[in-house]
Amino acid sequence: MSAKVVTITSGKGGVGKTTTTANLAVALAQQEQRVVCIDGDIGLRNLDVILGLENRIVYDLVDVIEGRCRLKQAMIRDKRLPELYLIPAAQTRDKSAVSPSDMVRLCDELRNEVDWILVDSPAGIERGFKNALAPADIVLVVTNPEISAVRDADRIVGLIEAEEKGPAKLILNRVNSSLTKRGDMISAEDVLELLAIDLIGIIPEDENVVVASNRGQPVTLSEKAKAGQAFRNIARRLLGEEVPYMNLDEKGGLFDRLSRMIKSGGD
C-alpha cells in the first residue's frame, strides 16, 4: 500500500490552503486513514498553529532534508486522532533550502508509512509552489468566489497542466449562501465555468473556521460546524465515495442551482 500525495495550492494567498490542509488531514484521520501533512510554506509556517501543534516542534522539514534528524523525528503526532502527523516548515530558512527533488525523495520515503501525504503549498508560483507540486499525485486548487482569486487559480491550473500534474480538482472556499454579493464577487457557477476543472468540494463561509483555527482546533474536529461537514465530504470523495453536495440554503438558492449544474455536468 502506497500513500497518495495530495498538494493543496492556490496562487493567491489567504484563500484557505492551510485551513484546507489541516481540515482534510483531520477528516481523513477521522476515517481511520494514516495521514501526514507537510507544511511547504518555508519561512511562513502556520499549519502547526492551526493544528495546535506549534509547541511540540523540535525538528522541521529542512532538518530532515539536510540530514540533521531522521524523518520520524520530525513527524509530530497529533494525539487527538489515531494517526495524524505533521512535518512542520522551517521558520528561519528561505525557500531555496528545499528543492523539488528533495520533496519527491521525502514523500517517497513516507509513502510506505502512511495512506495520505498532504502538502500545503505557499502562495505564488515560485520555488515553494514548485516544491509542493513536484511530489503530487493529486492537486487540489483552492479558490474563493472572487475575481482576483479566480484569476490566480486559473493561472495555477494552467501551470499544473503544463507540468503534467493535472487535471487539478477544485475546492471553492468561503462561499456565502446569502444572495447578496459584493462587487468583486462572482457566482460559483461562473467560477466553475471559467476554470473548467472538476469540483471536489464547496466550503461555506463559516466564522467557526476562524475561531477554531485560532484555538488550534481545526473546525472538522467539531461535529456541528457546516464547514467541518464540507471538509469531511471532501475526504470521503478522496476515498472514492460519491457524496452529494450539501444544501446550505433555501430552495432555488445558490447551492440548489449548483448541485443541479453539477448533476447536469454528469459527475
Binding site: 484569476r151 490566480d152 486559473d154 493561472r155 491550473v157 494552467g158 501551470l159 497542466e161 471559467l194 473548467a196
Partner: protein, 229 residues
C-alpha cells in the same frame, strides 16, 4: 503611430524570418520609424531574423552598419538586404549580409493539382489559454478552447477561437488590417486588429459566434455568418 509611418514600412513574415520593406524617403526617418515600431512590439521582434528590402535605394555601408548594430542592440539579427541597386548590394556584401532570400521557388515546382487550395499557415492550440499564458505568432492562430481573462493571443494574421474569448486578442499585429478575430463567444478584455482597438465593450444578450474586423477604420463585430467568397 501615424499612418504615414505605416506606409513607409511593411513587415511580413517569410520563411526565413521577417521581411521589412521600406519605401522612399529620408533614410534617417525610415530607420527611426522602424526602430519605433520595434520598440512598440518589443516582445514580438525579440530574437527575430530580419531581411531588409530597400528597392532601388542606394545605401552606404555605414548606414547599413548602423542599422545592423541598432537592431543587434534589440536582439534582432539583420542578415539580408535586398535591393535592385548594385551599389547597395555591393555594400551589403561588404558587410557580410546576404542579398537574396531563397524564395520558396523550389517548392513551387511541385505542381499542385488545380483543385487544392494552397491556404495559409496557422498555429493550432488545442487547449484553453489560461490567465498568464500567451500565444504569439506571425501567422494565423487557431485555438480550440477558451481564452480566459488574463490569457493573450497575438497573431500576425487572423485569430479563430473555437471557444469563449475573454482575454486579450490582437490580430494583424504586423499591420494587416484585413485580419479578423472570431470566437464562439466574443467577450474580450481587450481586442485589437492592426492598430485599431475595439471601443465599446460587448453588450449582453445570448452569446453567439461573432466575427470582428476593421471597417472604415473602426473595429466592428458581427454575427458570424458564412458567406461564399
Amino acid at each position: 503611430m501615424s499612418n504615414q509611418n505605416q506606409s513607409e514600412i511593411q513587415i511580413k513574415g517569410i520563411r526565413e524570418g521577417l521581411l521589412v520593406t521600406v519605401s522612399d524617403g529620408k533614410w534617417e526617418d525610415i530607420q527611426n520609424s522602424l526602430l519605433l515600431q520595434i520598440q512598440e512590439k518589443e516582445k514580438f521582434f525579440k530574437g527575430a531574423k530580419l531581411a531588409l528590402e530597400v528597392g532601388i535605394r542606394e545605401m552606404h555601408a555605414a548606414e547599413l552598419g548602423v542599422l545592423r548594430d541598432r537592431l543587434a542592440d534589440r536582439d534582432i539579427g539583420l542578415w539580408a538586404v535586398l535591393s535592385s541597386s548594385p551599389v547597395t548590394e555591393q555594400n551589403a556584401q561588404v558587410l557580410g549580409l546576404a542579398t537574396k532570400v531563397s524564395t520558396p521557388k523550389a517548392e513551387r515546382k511541385i505542381k499542385t493539382p488545380d483543385n487544392t487550395i494552397p491556404g495559409e499557415n496557422a498555429v493550432f492550440i488545442n487547449r484553453t489559454v489560461r490567465s498568464g499564458f500567451k500565444v504569439l505568432s506571425h501567422e494565423h492562430i487557431v485555438v480550440m478552447g477558451d481564452v480566459n481573462p488574463g490569457g493573450e493571443i497575438i497573431a500576425g494574421g487572423s485569430i479563430i477561437i473555437w471557444g469563449k474569448c475573454r482575454g486579450l486578442v490582437h490580430a494583424g499585429a504586423d499591420g494587416d488590417e484585413t485580419a479578423v478575430i472570431c470566437a464562439l463567444e466574443l467577450a474580450p478584455m481587450h481586442l485589437r486588429i492592426a492598430n485599431y482597438f475595439a471601443t465599446s465593450p460587448k453588450g449582453k444578450g445570448k452569446p453567439q459566434p461573432e466575427l470582428a474586423k476593421v471597417v472604415n477604420g473602426q473595429v466592428v463585430a458581427e454575427t458570424w455568418k458564412l458567406k461564399a467568397r
